[in-house]
């Protein structure tokens, strides 16, 4: 299978400007400037069926066409490089190995949306990628690909690189905007949507790193070619971050709609030690989990939604038969309790409560009614809040409880303890609140 972005994923190597130009870098962006106008550029992106690869899967061309161009205000482009969804590490690869692909995508998106100032909001923990991106930006400015005359034409594009401070919620697009404005990362009420009232009150396009990095390929090889790579209405390829109990964890660039079984067994080499598969998280921690019997599913946005889960950020986490689902859920829910911004009551209180109930179960203090209570809490935590964090917490919670109920009941019945440790005093294998939860996944 042909590699597009991932052909640059050479361990330890960054493709800097010179090598990038030798490989045809920035040619696509230049051709867009020469041959197309803004509307024509958007039209191509629409035809490519490119979807937002940050997780929501919203058609990119359609998103761009919602941006009003006649408000008298500038239009901003914000690049979401906050990659915080546990189990997802693809954007990091893009930035670390081929930062110019992202920059070229940014130039195309800026041209299409008449943007003259763009911001990259990069995850605070991504120190090395930040340095790489900074250097790549300097190279692009030096070449005149960014700055007052992009490609020598009468089009200015200033790019600002901004580091986040480590909050998961700042990856939510409106939380990100608040944070970028210097405020606390509280997601905003919608409407108005960021396309209309976004950064500093101006129309704003927000795109994920990977989404933008695919733009050069679309304009190099054609929108129809890109659309055909994927499944119906799900154009192109995407980067699957595969982690957990597989033989070859890593980032795999595969067409949208590829069967999950193929990702695990063909590309990631199957389960470590050839054990039995127990469960798979298909699209980042917030996606509902699949049991081993459910992996014959095509991995695109629409088909996963039909299975009551989501393609999300394409973070595929594979759990083999040795996994303790109670512990896995406890670690998962502790993450949401730690990262809830605290704005909406159901999420603020619900995530914390769920964490404490699961902790109690994990310490051998489970009560018979706990599972039903958790399911009930879950129903009212999801769908009642400003942003999707609570939905993202409710989805794994419900799916773990429903699909692995017997394991929770066994814990409660046998007064079993997670890892045999005291969760609150020793931390055990489940980390304590306040520490990164993903470390143990």
């Amino acid at each position: 299978m042909e590699k597009l972005i991932s052909k640059y994923f050479v361990p330890g190597k960054t493709f800097w400007m010179e090598e990038c130009l030798q490989d045809g870098g920035y040619a696509a962006a230049k051709s867009v400037f020469e041959k197309l106008d803004a509307a024509g550029t958007i039209e191509e992106v629409k035809k490519s069926n490119l979807r937002g690869l940050g997780g929501a899967g919203f058609p990119t061309g359609m998103k761009w066409s919602f941006v009003p161009q006649n408000t008298g205000k500038p239009v901003y482009l914000v690049v979401n490089a906050d990659e915080g969804e546990p189990g997802t590490f693809k954007d990091r690869y893009v930035i670390a190995h081929c930062p110019h692909l992202l920059l070229e995508g940014i130039i195309i998106a800026a041209y299409a949306n008449n943007v003259h100032k763009a911001f990259i909001y990069i995850r605070g923990e991504y120190v090395e990628p930040y340095k790489i991106l900074k250097k790549a930006m300097e190279e692009a400015y030096a070449k005149g690909f960014l700055g007052s005359k992009v490609f020598g034409r009468d089009f200015a594009l200033e790019l600002v690189l901004h580091r986040g401070a480590g909050a998961y919620i700042c990856g939510e697009e409106t939380g990100l905007l608040e944070s970028l404005e210097g405020k606390k990362g509280f997601p905003r009420l919608k409407p108005p949507f960021p396309a209309v009232v976004g950064l500093f009150g101006c129309p704003t396009v927000i795109n994920n790193v990977e989404t933008l990095a695919y733009l050069p390929f679309i304009f190099q090889r054609g929108a129809e070619w890109f659309a055909k790579l994927g499944s119906e209405k799900n154009g192109g390829m995407r980067l699957f971050s595969v982690s957990g109990h597989v033989k070859k964890p890593g980032v795999y660039e595969l067409p949208l709609g590829i069967p999950l079984r193929e990702i695990i067994y063909t590309h990631a080499g199957g389960i470590r030690g050839d054990r039995k598969l127990k469960a798979v998280v298909p699209g980042g921690l917030s996606a509902a989990i699949f049991t081993a019997d459910e992996i014959d599913v095509d991995m695109d946005f629409d088909q996963l939604r039909a299975k009551q889960t989501m393609a999300g950020s394409a973070g595929v986490m594979v759990f083999d038969e040795t996994t303790d689902m109670v512990e896995a859920l406890l670690v998962t829910m502790r993450f949401y309790a730690h990262e809830s911004c605290g704005q909406c009551s159901p999420c603020r209180e619900g995530t914390g409560w769920v964490d404490r109930i699961l902790t109690r179960i994990g310490m051998g203090g489970g009560l018979e009614r706990d599972v039903d209570n958790l399911l009930d809490i879950c129903s009212f935590m999801g769908g009642t809040t400003i942003c999707a964090l609570a939905d993202g917490a409710a989805m794994p919670l419900r799916s773990y409880l429903q699909k692995f109920r017997s394991e929770f009941e066994a814990y409660i019945r046998d007064k079993k303890r997670v890892g045999g440790e005291d969760l609150e005093t020793h931390g055990g294998s489940a980390v304590k609140r306040g520490e990164g939860a993903s470390a143990t996944l």
């Binding site: 909050a167 919620i169 606390k184 009420l189 309790a337 730690h338 990262e339 809830s340 911004c341 605290g342 704005q343 909406c344 009551s345 159901p346 603020r348 209180e349 619900g350 995530t351 914390g352 409560w353 404490r356 109930i357 109690r360 009560l367 009614r369 209570n373 009930d376 809490i377 009212f380 935590m381 769908g383 009642t384 809040t385 400003i386």
Partner: protein, 563 residues
């Protein structure tokens, strides 16, 4: 203005475009519960209590943020909505200490009230609650209990948007979020008391009111603030049946009352905490002082004596009119002293010098009725007190009638005292002791404005009625009654049973008030109040869960500004 038509719980309602569903619902008696929503603040949408069903929308929507649209179909009472409310309440109570027995908010707490209406669930909590800081003074007037806080952010939005002082913020995340003052700051701005009013729970309590009296013992009466010339509409809340509480004080606290045109939902701290004079340092009996000896007298003794002195002075006396007096009382002064006795020594003297002013509510003129006095041709500085003191020094004066002003403090004991000493008599008519009342030969105890009724005209020219809240303390009487009795002893017949009768007469003489009477003032006022958002969820008023009101509650009246 263009309107939209929508259906709420099967009833069609037409509202102006841009109206929020939560407001539209009030019009068809479908009250939607809420915590974070406040019509005077921006929309935060965080409490999620107002979630309702909207046809064609897959998820429940918050009614505080959702704009009413043509053809929208809203349902606020479906099982799903009810069940959601119940769960939201459960969430809000998970980390709440439920310490109602020791919480000052008990009785006017939205958690309690909504729990009784929408919750009534048994606790499913088997976990520890999150511990936070308790009894933290945020500043001189407000106490914070973080555990009781439901993080609705009303107080934060108030300091951002209304007082614009930005002392408060929400720090930390998730269920460890807490409201606090920013480091190095304290909540000490001219409007800080309002955060207590808008706090729906017991998180922010008033240090002045805390533990003085349980709110269910409070009675309340709509009236005005007399703290400055703005004329903010307030509720005066008092307890008159439990003298063993609060050392016998009657007035417990003042709360702002919505008036769109004057103070919206707010009042300043200066006015809010300036009520102590109703119960403290009061003059309780008429007194006669001669050669340093004070003798208590009855009204029947002292008023004829005062009338006799006034009569025999033959115009050689000064009258110090106060802009704290009502329009009705100023009218009687005008009638008796200027017109009937032809006195030329009449001075309008403010009892307090000008003070702090801002561009929001607080006015430099600390008198509620300077404009009303002006409309009756009493103006500051036309004749100054100094002129009068000079005349006294020359022995041209026999007496002075002082309406509560502390001339000795205002004009210095070195100027006022020697002058007043030269007089045969000085008649002090006031509610509270001061240096001048300790000096005057005749002291008549008057009612405070809470103990009488009348009208004040604010600086914009809005005439509003204030209502009697309390009975006069001790032997005190309203000035209008004192004046009428004096007039009758001075050959001018005045027969008034109520101030409304005086107002009717006054309205004929004062052009801006022409054609008005108390009933008409009420009508004007109603048109202002019609769309008023309640200070508290209306369910508490509906069900009488909050404050007993006095049997006759007169709304305060407002006239439009003639300007």
């Amino acid at each position: 203005m263009s309107t939209v038509k929508l259906t709420i719980d099967g009833k069609e309602v037409e509202v102006p475009k841009g109206t929020r569903v939560i407001e539209a619902a009030k019009k068809v008696d479908s009250d939607i519960p809420f915590y974070c929503y406040h019509p005077g603040l921006s929309i935060a949408g965080n409490c999620r209590m107002c979630l309702v069903e909207v046809e064609k929308m897959p998820k429940l929507q918050i009614a505080c943020h959702m704009e009413a649209r043509d053809g929208m179909v809203v349902r606020t009472k479906t099982p799903v909505v009810q069940e959601t409310r119940k769960h939201i309440l459960e969430f809000l109570l998970i980390n709440h200490p439920v310490d109602c027995p020791v919480c000052d908010q008990a009785g006017e707490c939205w958690l309690q009230d909504y729990y009784m209406r929408y919750g009534t669930h048994d606790s499913r909590l088997n976990e520890n609650k999150v511990k936070k800081k308790k009894a933290v003074p945020l500043g001189p007037t407000v106490m914070l209990d973080q555990e009781r806080c439901i993080l609705c952010s009303r107080c934060v939005r108030f300091t951002d948007e209304i007082s614009k002082t930005q002392e408060l913020g929400i720090i930390n995340r998730g269920d460890h979020s807490e409201v606090d003052v920013f480091p190095g700051k304290e909540l000490n701005n001219p409007y800080s008391g309002n955060v207590v009013d808008i706090c729906p729970v017991g998180a922010l309590t008033d240090r002045d009111f805390r533990f003085k009296m349980r709110v269910w013992y409070l009675k309340t009466q709509a009236t005005l603030c007399n703290g400055c010339s703005r004329g903010c509409n307030i509720e005066m809340q008092y307890g008159d049946q439990r003298p063993h509480h609060a050392k016998g004080d009657r007035v417990m606290r003042l709360k702002p009352r919505y008036n769109e045109q004057i103070n919206q939902w707010w009042m300043c701290d200066e006015g809010r905490y300036g009520y102590k004079f109703h119960d403290h340092n009061r003059i309780l009996n008429p007194m006669h002082r001669s050669e340093g000896k004070v003798e208590e007298k009855s009204w029947e003794q002292i008023l004829p004596e005062a009338a006799k002195l006034i009569e025999s002075a033959k115009g050689q006396f000064g009258v110090f009119v106060s802009p704290q007096l009502s329009n009705e009382e100023i009218f009687l002064i005008d009638k008796l002293f200027r017109k009937h006795l032809q006195n030329k020594q009449i001075f309008l003297i403010s009892p307090t010098p000008d003070g702090f002013q801002d561009d929001f509510l607080i006015r430099a003129d600390k008198n509620p009725n300077s404009k009303g006095a002006e409309w009756q041709n009493f103006r500051y500085q036309e004749r100054t007190a100094a002129d009068f003191f000079t005349a006294c020094g020359k022995g041209q004066m026999q007496g002075a009638i002082i309406f509560g002003q502390d001339l000795l403090t205002l004009h210095g004991a070195h100027l006022a005292q020697p002058a007043l000493q030269k007089l045969k008599w000085s008649l002090f008519i006031g509610s509270n002791h001061n240096l001048t009342s300790e000096f005057a030969t005749h002291v008549l105890p008057s009612a405070t404005y809470a103990e009488k009724e009348g009208t004040f005209t604010n600086f914009e020219g809005r005439t509003q009625k204030f209502n009697q809240v309390l009975d006069p303390l001790g032997d005190a009487r309203p000035e209008w009654q004192i004046l009428a009795t004096l007039a009758n002893g001075l050959g001018l017949s005045m027969k008034y049973d109520r101030t409304s009768e005086i107002f009717k007469e006054l309205a004929e003489h004062v052009p801006p008030l022409k054609g008005l009477n108390y009933a008409k003032l009420a009508a004007e006022h109603d048109s202002v109040r019609r769309f008023a958002a309640p200070m508290v969820p209306s369910l508490m008023q509906d069900e009488g869960l909050i404050f007993q009101t006095t049997p006759e509650t007169h709304p305060t009246q407002t006239t439009p500004s003639p300007a």
